[in-house]
Symmetry: C2
């Protein structure tokens, strides 16, 4: 070993011992007759002293050649530090160096390796290996490691078996786009990378493995939204002989264990909310419930009073902002503009101030009496001192717009506190959703999700009304995981495939192995998958998943450090029986 200790562990009890340290030069202070150098590694920072009077001349002169990010090995005596630094683990001591070995010099790095670096994101991604040296990214990666260790040990203790499923699988056009992988040994044929191990984990249940988990990479060749990656990691789980409640209890256990162990934050019981309630009350299927601002539907109270805008709309709905009555007209106008942005797309915003003196003032005073407004206040749970914001329009769209307004205001008012964890189960998702473009139903979760028994009768007549045994785990307004009780009956599975537009022949070609497996004693089963990247980001109290991925790709799916994807040699394509399409 090129060290006897790491750079984060020497204490006053080590004084007078001889040590060897290795690490990077973090900082140099050259006072002429004395040079202080901070040496850094993953574990911490230790202060080195080169003293003209006490350090061998050759070593002292060599220290003068050091520069930021040089990798060095030193030997020396641990001595007491005159001005102790209590913020540093090693702040009680320093090392009087008598041997210095430059293991590798460094060019001046393109940005500073400091908590507050001067490097922009693109630059830091290009030199990711330098960015990882920064405390933030290093700590994030270690945090992620701790989370996965906890997950594995918890699930292992609960009898779950970690089983690897294949990465080279089969392309199925349903859902998002697959990455495909040409096979050289089977010319003209292709594997696909898994969007999830869904069918394989179900086959493991058919195989009697009973409880499965895997922390596994998944792949989607999709246009990337701001904070998505073409490859992402799932905590993938499946159980046999369970109903929905069993799955929720099991994984509520996992997540509260994690939050307790990692964040020392205790949560007793996760609340549950149906999809319909979530949409109705929060305008989102992943409501952030760290704060109130629950919607109140005032359609009945606001319609038919001569205000044309409201009279012609499907829904009129609002929420109240605590202590919002003091918000200035100027600021309210900003929200009116905000809601009209094309990304939100509302036509206008009605507001009601419920003043501290119990008077009411609104943007629609012309049409409504104070009593009307008091009715609205009751429904939106507004008290004196509060402000009510109201939107109207087509139901689905309006609820969504109001949901986004709610989040934006919460953000502005610092109600989205990253130190609070508010998990929530959202249940009873619709089984199908209509895709206007394709003119057919899509599976809202995936086509292996089972419909609720009591809704089975609607499958043919009103497919869109059928609720699924599907659930999402939401934390602080982020979808952290989702799952379902699966179909385990071959006939029902076929029916489901038909509903989403697969002919029997297509279903057989793509999923014949699953339909076949269901004929040999498939047990009732269900499971869940958590997005690990997002989970660790939320637990870490951060927002950008890229900060918790060692080597992330950018928004075009490029790894700009290794410059990939890239052209390949013609001979490689030839071997695969492929040509670039010139058209």
């Amino acid at each position: 070993m090129l060290r006897s200790h790491n750079c984060g562990e020497l204490k006053s009890t080590d004084i007078n011992t001889t040590v060897a340290l290795s690490g990077w030069v973090q900082k140099i202070r050259d006072k002429g007759f004395i040079i202080w150098v901070d040496i850094r590694d993953r574990y911490g920072i230790t202060q080195l002293v080169f003293d003209e009077a006490r350090t061998p001349k050759k070593v002292f002169d060599s220290a003068r050649n050091l520069s930021r990010e040089f990798v060095i090995q030193i030997k020396g005596q641990v001595i007491e530090r005159e001005s102790k630094n209590n913020e540093l683990l090693t702040g009680a001591i320093e090392i009087l160096v008598n041997e210095l070995n430059i293991l590798n010099p460094s060019e001046i790095p393109p940005f500073t390796i400091e908590d507050k670096t001067d490097g922009g994101e693109e630059l830091r991604m290009k030199y990711r290996y330098l960015d990882i040296r920064r405390n933030t990214i290093r700590d994030n990666l270690i945090f992620r490691h701790k989370v996965t260790m906890e997950v594995r040990n918890y699930l292992n203790n609960q009898g779950f078996i970690d089983i690897e499923t294949p990465y080279l699988i089969k392309s199925t056009p349903e859902g998002a786009r697959d990455f495909i992988v040409p096979s050289r040994m089977n010319s003209g044929q292709f594997y696909a990378l898994p969007q999830s191990p869904q069918t394989f984990k179900q086959l493991l249940m058919v195989g009697g493995m009973d409880r499965y988990f895997q922390i596994v990479k998944c792949f989607r060749d999709e246009d990337l939204r701001a904070d998505r990656q073409p490859e992402f990691t799932q905590i993938d789980c499946e159980m046999s002989f369970v109903n929905q409640e069993d799955v929720l209890t099991q994984f509520e256990g996992l997540i509260s264990h994690l939050i307790l162990k990692i964040k020392n934050y205790k949560i007793d019981k996760f609340p549950k909310m149906t999809y319909d309630e979530a949409i109705k009350n929060y305008g989102s299927d992943k409501p952030d419930i760290r704060f109130g601002m629950k919607f109140g539907n005032i359609t009945d109270k606001a319609k038919g009073k001569g205000f044309n805008v409201f009279d012609s709309e499907e829904i009129i709905v609002g929420f109240s902002i605590k202590k919002g009555a003091s918000i200035s007209r100027k600021e309210i106008d900003k929200w009116v503009d905000w809601i009209k942005k094309p990304q939100i797309g509302a036509k206008g915003l009605v507001w009601v101030k419920y003043n501290e003196d119990h008077t009411l003032k609104s943007s629609v005073d012309k049409f409504y009496t104070e009593n009307d407004l008091i009715e609205w206040a009751k429904i939106t749970k507004a008290d004196s001192g509060d402000l009510i914001f109201i939107l109207s329009g087509e139901t689905k769209k309006t609820l969504k717009q109001l949901g986004e307004l709610r989040l934006a205001i919460a953000e502005k008012n610092n109600l989205r506190n990253p130190d609070i964890f508010a998990p929530l189960w959202v249940t009873d998702f619709p089984l199908l959703e209509w895709n206007e473009e394709a003119k057919r139903y899509h599976a809202m979760h995936h086509p292996f999700t089972s419909p609720k028994k009591e809704d089975l009768g609607l499958l043919k007549s009103f497919p869109e009304k059928v609720r699924a045994n599907a659930y999402d785990l939401v934390i602080n307004g982020n979808e952290i995981g989702g799952g379902s009780i699966r179909i385990h009956d071959s006939k029902l599975q076929k029916e489901m495939f038909n509903l989403i537009g697969l002919s029997n022949k297509e279903a057989q070609e793509q999923f014949g192995f699953l339909l076949g497996a269901f004929k040999f004693g498939a047990p009732p089963h269900g499971g869940i998958a958590f997005g690990l990247d997002r989970l660790v980001t939320i637990l870490g109290g951060e927002e950008t998943i890229r900060d918790f991925i060692a080597f992330p790709k950018n928004n075009s799916g490029r790894d700009i450090m290794i410059d990939s994807p890239s052209m390949i040699e013609k001979s490689q394509l030839n071997e695969l029986g492929l040509d670039l399409n010139k058209s």
Copy 2:
């Protein structure tokens, strides 16, 4: 939950309790008035009783419809079993059933779900989900899970951080063939699947992560030898500020911990052997040292005595077989034939019997005196009662042939005992090997392996003589892992790329990110990667890695269960800007 207990846990202390069990019908014995049914799940087997006198009629009748592999749920009383079965965990009890619920019927499975099944390998691979129900495969998968949990916890305790590296990386023509992945968003460009996370783990070291591990899938689009898979799993590790001895000590710790924890088998210290010694003494760079039969070189003693065959050859080498003198001439002739097989390719085999009565008899008595033969016996460590086998020819080829003969004889004589674990470090591998076809050097491990300091002077003049800081871990004649101390110097790395035929431009294009990283303070580092599939197979005392992989591919790289790889739709290729090459 559809059960109160699993099928492996009820004991006599549970007698008289009411329970619910779920599982598969393993066996039915219908005695007319009484029906016994064995119900099976991952945890065990429990005997159910349907008794005409005590079971509700409807339930009893329903039991008559059961068949193998039906999935059922039952409720009933735990009662004492008349004839106890001590071999069964639940052998003291049975369940008197009063409620039966058929959760899913089953067609007759294509092979029996028994330890000794009647299904051939192809059939079992097609219905892998049924094969997994068998004790063997189920236990293998659970065993693999236990091994990986131990590995993770051990390495975590040693300060290693589990860090995920990307799967969508960049194609580099060096070494084995990459699987490539066309990018839809970057038309005409390709990712590649990693053959190993080698460069990324090195960048993590440059990033100061100090100790990294990952259990990770790797990919090679190669013609598959008998027991290889296009996707395989590595335990991948890397450390900073270490020399070779540090790495060996660290991972000797891991492997002996595993063997102790998992197999309750204690190993004190792993022996070490240089590559040259291994080849010279065992004709293999992965010698099985569970038994002797070390080679003796008799070239000096056997040449120049008038035996033409020997006189003209480069090397004459043999080994002795304990108590082999009793082997019949007929059997010896079989070995003579064996060694001439095209796969082995030797021209002939010379034998010497050192009889119990101290007389000597050989196939070359015409040319050698008894004293000559006694000399040979000394060198090959043969005593009276033993047999000596001798090959001659070109050195490298002959040693290899003799190595294979040694293994075949050990196999035949049951010396390759799967209950013994004999690990061995093989060190000092050559840095390069000459590739006759490509007329250039290849890196023997990979081009990031560092040459031994003392051999640096030979790099230009005699590249093939340069030894590397490279090592393999061998257990029982299988290469379980390999690694090296890496190059961390940009200039030396460039030199290495040049040696294996990459121009500076090519090196920059393919590995520019690594060469760049080495300029910003790369620490000395090294590591190792273990083949998990092989490791668990060896630890499990088995031979076929497929038996330890949940969903393996066959020798043509096909998953015959899901029928992959397969054709994809023309539209998918179009989107990727690709055409099938018609030529």
